[in-house]
Amino acid sequence: MRKRLLVLSAALLATASLAACSNDNGNDGGSASPGSSQPASQGASSSGSSDEVVTLSFWRHDYAPEAAAFKKLIASFEESHPNIKIDFQMIPNDQYETKIRTALAGGNPPDIMALDAPTLASYANQKAIIPLDDYFAKDGNKDDLLKPVVEGLTFDGKMYAAPNNEGTIVMFYNKKMFEEKGIPLPSKNVDEAWTWDQVLDAAKKLNDPAKGVYGWNPTPWGFVGHEGAPYSEMAFLWQAGAEILSPDGKTAKGYLDSAESKKALTFWQNLFNGDKVSPKELPQDAFWNGKVAIHVDGPFAFQYQEQNFPNFKLGEDYDVAPLWKDARMIGTTGSWGMAITSHSEHPDEAWQFVNWVTGVEGSKVWYEETKNLPARQSTFDAFQELKEYPMNIYAEQLAKYGHPRPVTPAYPAISEAIRLLFEDVGLGNADIDDSLAKAVKKIEDGIATLNP
């Protein structure tokens, strides 16, 4: 009997300890080695009102090159604001979202938190973060921010975060492989992007299963379990002319399951299951190792290549071109920003820090350190290299064809629905109508839970 009780209580213990563990967030980071730059000298508002020293906590996911940039900006900030101390904590990348959410749930979040643009609406909708419009009106230089950036950080007419940088993805191609097969190189003009069919045509010629070479890898990290996958997959839907949600954001029915979506998914299915030019399992560093001929990546890829594959050179071995297009030319945008939690007792001081890092001068330091795509026009104007190849492709594509992910508190459901949709069709070779119905239902459920 005693033994049975023991086993039973073991069963209780075992099932009670479900849940918990860690989360992945991923998405783009940036990449850079700490370069040299002047500390920001910003004419922001003068330091706080009292002599008391205020300590602000600030959490961000851990990413070495960006952490270095933050440390530099924090040092210069504390120097010019002696009454404010920043307690900077880096959380391991795959635990960041879980940690921030449990801290919010437990009522002890940091004063300032980093967030990926599409998660903003969930936090704002639950009033976990505060609107920054008054601050932006005072000294935030909002007019200087690029339009898609502002759009991606605005929920319910209010802006809830200040962007560290912007992000988008473009096409990378292995120049030597193109030349070997006598394929004409794609244009570097963002208005003359290759169509899906042009890319597929090239990919079929480049595909070489015997050598383990895939023609076309259409998503930067392959079929991963985090935001990195839907980031690039959504572009296919939009390019075909489809939308994910209705303009009022209330439903996906009639939008995500449109004929245009079906066209995009049919094309996607063929890449992996018909023509088989795309890898179902993306090997590590496939493009840099010559295992993928056409690839897609963010601006941080250049620094990654320099550090890890110094002999694989831009202009010789590979080049970049604007992202592909179909009925429309569109590149997904959105990256990380900083928000102030409603829990913070010192929102004014928190804004001073946020504005120091993301303001006109801070953005320049950030760009120099991380080489991420700037979110401010003034930063674009300040660096000649942003007007030159290859960064100009990112910059021009962003300005002309950038498209933020939907800003809605239902985004977590959307992100997962899109990710699973493309997995079902790409990896599972599933029926497109069934998969779309499943995705629409998931999003509808997500929207319904918000308004019980």
């Binding site: 039973l8 073991a10 069963a11 479900l18 890898p279 997995e423 599972g428």
Partner: protein, 297 residues
């Protein structure tokens, strides 16, 4: 007088017993029973993980679970995993235990080798298996290709992905179960085998008529522990496949994790956790009944 004294003594004894139980009970109460109770309450609410206020939803969360295909699929994945792991892992472990129970030179080496995977962190093992399983460049497929067999795409083929997880889990757990069986085997007196031998029982008969019946208690422990561990499998799935490809390895715990922390729908996740908890409880009770044993030795 005597009776009075013994009453006092008994009172003191039971008070002492209570004091001994108290620390463990207090810990259980604070860290297990209270959170469970709280989670049970949450399962009847519309509870967004980060929202400040929550409204009551009655049985809506539970009702929704019964029509949720994703939850249904995750339940099936968990049970499929368990139905395969339970017999296969138990058989392999018992086989290993029988092998290494024999006394011969170097037996310690084999016992250690079989036990080593248990000492490897599950996260590390999962990460390494992910590399081994890679379709184009993984070691497994390099070997298969070398001997002229078709490649196994455990990470991208929804039809076989769960088998990849199963292999990983059995590889890691079999050493532990083997040690438990070994202890059980060593508890069986030699005299019984000798008696069976004298009666003319051959090796197979001795195994089925002596070893197995006398291992019933050990077997009960192994079966119940394996079942519970298998049903709540999470770490290797989280690390190797994230529930993919195409949701084919999303188990119940993975579903609960995704719902609670990614979708931030804590109420729904709590309801799923409780439904699952009762399922596991029922299974454990049934297993205990089945394995009830009167055999003493």
């Amino acid at each position: 007088m005597r009776g009075y004294r013994s009453a006092i003594y008994e009172k003191q004894e039971s008070r002492a017993a209570f004091l001994f139980i108290l620390p463990a009970f207090a810990l259980l109460a604070v860290f297990i029973f209270y959170p469970m109770l709280h989670a049970f309450v949450i399962s009847f609410q519309n509870y967004n993980l980060i929202a400040a206020e929550h409204s009551w939803s009655g049985l809506a969360n539970y009702r929704k679970l019964f029509s949720d295909e994703t939850f249904g699929a995750s339940l099936w994945h968990s049970f499929y995993f368990t139905l395969v792991v339970l017999p296969v892992q138990t058989a392999i472990s018992l086989g290993l235990a029988l092998l290494v129970q024999k006394k011969f030179r170097g037996v310690g080496f084999f016992r250690t080798v079989y036990f080593v995977p248990v000492a490897v962190s599950f996260a590390v093992a999962s990460t390494i298996f992910r590399l081994i399983y890679n379709k184009d460049y993984g070691m497994l497929n390099a070997v298969l290709k070398g001997i002229g067999l078709p490649a196994l795409d455990f990470l991208s083929n929804p039809d076989i992905s769960m088998l990849g997880i199963i292999v990983l889990c059995i590889w890691r757990a079999m050493g532990f179960v083997m040690v438990i069986f070994l202890a059980g085997l060593n508890n069986i007196p030699d005299s019984l085998y000798e008696a069976a031998h004298v009666d003319g029982a051959n090796a197979v008969q001795r195994f089925f008529l002596v070893t197995l019946p006398l291992l019933k208690r050990t077997m009960a422990f192994v079966v119940i522990i394996t079942t519970m561990d298998a049903l709540k499998i999470f770490i290797p799935i989280y690390i190797t496949t994230s529930g993919g490809p195409a949701g084919s390895t999303s188990t119940v715990v993975h579903f609960i994790y995704e719902t609670a922390f990614k979708q931030m729908n804590m109420g729904y996740a709590a309801a799923a956790a409780f439904l699952f908890f009762f399922l596991v409880l029922i299974i454990s009770i049934v297993q205990l009944r089945v394995f009830r044993t009167d055999v003493e030795y």
